[in-house]
């Protein structure tokens, strides 16, 4: 009897667990809680991309992809629990989609030698690969975003914004405060006046901030928001009749969720992005054929083509391409997390590569190196078309102000290295 039970238990474990040869990718997702509306499309895009690789190509270079999904609820403690409970599965890379979770995982993944990719979030100075060996934040980070916004404002003002007033409405948290230093440095360089308007979590009540904006009449408003704060801010901007084309959000304030509740009033609102939008790509035809039509979508299949779904897809694409790079480098298809780290550190995304994947111009071209884990800081500006209910890129990808950002990253990463006894090096 005992033998039978033991056999059954082993069989159950083998059936439930991934085959040893599979490439395992973790998906620390949040499909429940206050931020589920943002977590679901990202997770769906991430998982559907890998499902397509499995269904169409038989995985990555013949290795099936196994996804281990764990619900974090956008809660830092749960995120860390998810990491601890899934790292034994051999997950090649973690993408927690939360700055809070990322901060907690930085020392853990480094000591476990597992790479972590915080794409457009997390600790900005992790771009310095000499200090943050296992953390990657390509293709862009928060400070790039701040610079992209200012560069865009410069472009539409003929390169001169001295004397202009720019207000930053931000989530009063570590995340929301990220762009402040960069914007202050850029203010010194370009001569604009910066006003800071913090909004306490969760951001349902912003009357004071928007009354101040109405009184002080800034020329531009930038926003670093998340969740309900975004929807309320867009609605308040509509209410006070702030010109929406002068209102620019970071990429986490640029999903359909953020603008649809405000209806037609949100027309013209701008958001930064580091990937392309919509579903007009050859890749989507395959996605429909192999994943949607066969009922294999990760969620309800109702998020395809949304900004956050595309972001999840893009994250998966970068992970898959890094895995291929690692396979080539190490001459084996069955890569380990340490090999994956090498692949990420040598990742090069070119237009030819993206076009071959059926996603032409889906993201900027960039090259990762040991020194530079953050790419080249390219991003673009998208604008909301309320009538068509779609985002459209209104600029090409352009680079952030490296002259300002490079010293800030060097300073912050050096401080981290000193605090943690890290000797920077490649």
């Amino acid at each position: 009897m005992k033998l039978k039970l033991a056999t059954a238990a082993i069989a159950a474990v083998m059936a439930a667990g991934p085959a040893l040869a599979d490439l395992t990718f973790s998906a620390l997702s949040y499909r429940t809680g206050p931020y589920a509306a943002n977590g679901i499309p990202f997770a769906d895009g991430y998982i559907d991309y890998f499902t397509l690789l499995n269904e169409r190509d038989g995985g990555i270079n013949g290795e099936k992809v196994n996804i281990v999904e764990c619900e974090t609820g956008y809660n830092t403690e749960k995120g860390v629990e998810c990491y601890e409970s899934t790292k034994g599965s051999g997950a090649l890379v973690y993408q927690p989609l939360s700055t809070g979770i990322t901060y907690q995982l930085i020392p853990k993944v480094t000591s476990d030698n597992i790479p972590l990719h915080s794409m457009g979030y997390g600790r900005t100075s992790a771009k310095n690969g000499k200090v943050f060996t296992n953390i990657f934040n390509y293709p862009a980070n928060y400070w790039d975003g701040a610079s992209h916004a200012v560069t865009h404002i410069l472009d539409i003002n003929g390169g001169d914004i001295s004397g202009k007033k720019i207000a930053l409405v931000y989530h009063n948290s570590a995340y929301g405060k990220e762009p402040i230093r960069t914007l202050e440095e850029l203010a010194k360089k370009h001569g604009y006046e910066l006003t800071l308007l913090p909004v306490d979590h969760p951001g349902q009540e912003q009357k004071s901030q928007w009354l101040q904006i109405r009184r002080e009449k800034p020329d531009y408003v930038l926003m670093w928001g998340w969740g309900v704060m975004n929807q309320v801010a867009v609605q308040e901007a509509v209410n006070i009749r702030f010109p929406m084309e002068n209102f620019i959000g970071i990429w986490w304030s640029g999903s359909e969720n953020d603008v649809l509740p405000a209806g037609d009033g949100a027309n013209g609102y701008k958001a930064l992005t580091f990937h392309n939008l919509g579903s007009d790509y050859p890749f989507y035809a395959d996605l429909k054929k192999y994943v949607v039509d066969t009922g294999k979508t990760a969620g309800a299949g109702d998020q395809l083509g949304t900004a956050l779904y595309n972001r999840g897809m893009y994250a998966a694409m970068l992970a898959a391409e890094a895995a291929k790079t690692a396979q080539d480098m190490h001459g084996t298809t069955a890569i380990t997390p340490a090999m994956m780290r090498d692949g990420m550190e040598n990742l090069e995304m070119t237009e030819a590569k993206m076009a071959a994947l059926g996603l032409p111009k889906f993201g900027p071209e960039f090259k990762v190196s040991c020194e530079n884990h953050g790419g080249d800081g390219f991003g673009a500006v998208a604008q909301w078309d309320a009538a068509a209910k779609e985002w459209n890129l209104i600029t090409d990808y352009f680079q952030s102000d490296q002259e300002i950002l490079a010293p800030l990253i060097a300073e912050d990463s050096a401080a981290y290295a000193a605090e943690n006894g890290i000797t920077p090096g490649c």
Binding site: A37, P198, K207, S208, N257, P261
Partner: protein, 329 residues
């Protein structure tokens, strides 16, 4: 008139309007506490659930569609009809009454005469269950709620104040509507509680469950009625807040806005919820305008609301309008 003073007046008025919205949430807490001594932790989630149900009914969404599709392999999402706002509100109220009945039958009927902390714990469980249930029933995407309420600058107030001060005040039309609705709600609830048979029975139950039972008052009926009323208030709050931000799971956090209002206005007074809301709304907005933003870096509203409530609490622990409880040894 100095510019700062004029702007201060605008902030004051907006504080009053914000206070009304806070009071709408606080009213639901007061109703249940007044009748049963239960601090209903689930009040914010009830507002969310009511708003989710309203949007779901209006848009003809199939409840539990994700679950149905996952089990049966179907692709049903919508019935294909749109229900007019007024009818949808009535249908939502039916759902809230049904929910009140179920909550009473399954939970509170079994907890009569239990310690208040036990009842409080039960509402915590209810809150988490209801949040998950709402998610499963209607999905977790952000939904636009449009029941025809006006939003944006009120041109009349803008024009009048511009003619007087040379600066047009911003008052949101939605806040004006909320003020009218809250005023009507309070009048109706006060009349109901003070002068109707059921209202008096409700107060009797609040005073002493056993004594109320002994004179023939049906505890079950009163509790179902009170939870239904709280459900109605939650629906009103859900409509107002949901119109502002879209209906989404953060809506349940509006309960946080009600706590300082309750501390200040007292847990048992309907007018207290309104006055408390107004004081908190004005206090936090004026403080942010005069001190918070210029000297403290801003974002002072949330903590200042609690400081204000604590100050009142020190001098009047039962709140401004709460009943003073004297226990003789």
């Amino acid at each position: 008139m100095p510019e700062q003073l004029i702007w201060g007046m605008e902030v004051f008025l907006n504080g009053l309007m914000a206070g009304v919205l806070y009071a709408l949430v606080a009213l639901g807490f007061v109703l249940i506490f007044k009748a049963s001594g239960i601090f209903n932790y689930a009040q914010g989630v009830m507002a969310l659930f009511a708003a989710l149900t309203l949007v779901g009914i209006m848009e003809g969404q199939v409840p539990f569609s994700h679950l149905i599709n996952a089990i049966f392999g179907t692709e049903v999402h919508h019935f294909g009809w749109h229900v007019p706002a007024l009818l949808a509100i009535l249908l939502t109220m039916v759902v809230m009454v049904a929910m009140a009945w179920v909550v009473n039958q399954l939970i509170f009927r079994h907890l009569v005469n239990q310690e208040p902390i036990i009842l409080f714990m039960a509402t915590i469980g209810l809150a988490y269950f209801l949040e998950g249930f709402g998610d499963m029933m209607w999905g977790s995407d952000i939904k636009k709620l449009d029941v025809g309420l006006p939003q944006g600058l009120n041109p009349f107030i803008d024009e009048v104040t511009y003619n007087i001060f040379g600066y047009g005040f911003f008052i949101d039309n939605l806040d004006v509507v909320a003020t009218v609705v809250a005023a009507l709600l309070v009048i109706v609830l006060v009349i109901f509680a003070q002068y109707s048979k059921q209202g008096r029975a409700m107060r009797a139950v609040a005073d002493d469950h056993q004594a109320a039972l002994s004179v023939g008052i049906s505890l079950n009926f009163i509790w179902v009625m009170v939870w239904s009323l709280a459900g109605f208030v939650a629906l009103v709050a859900g409509i107002m807040w949901g119109t502002k931000s879209g209906v989404q799971f953060s809506l349940s956090l509006i309960a946080l806005k009600a706590l300082p209002v309750l501390m200040l206005g007292g847990f048992t007074s309907i007018p207290g919820a309104i006055v408390g809301g107004l004081i908190i709304g004005v206090g936090e907005k004026v403080f942010e305008f005069a001190i918070g933003a210029p000297y403290l870096g801003g974002a002072t509203e949330i903590w200042f609301a609690y400081v204000l409530a604590l100050i009142f609490l020190v001098f009047r622990p039962q709140g401004l309008f709460g009943e003073k409880i004297i226990e003789r040894v």
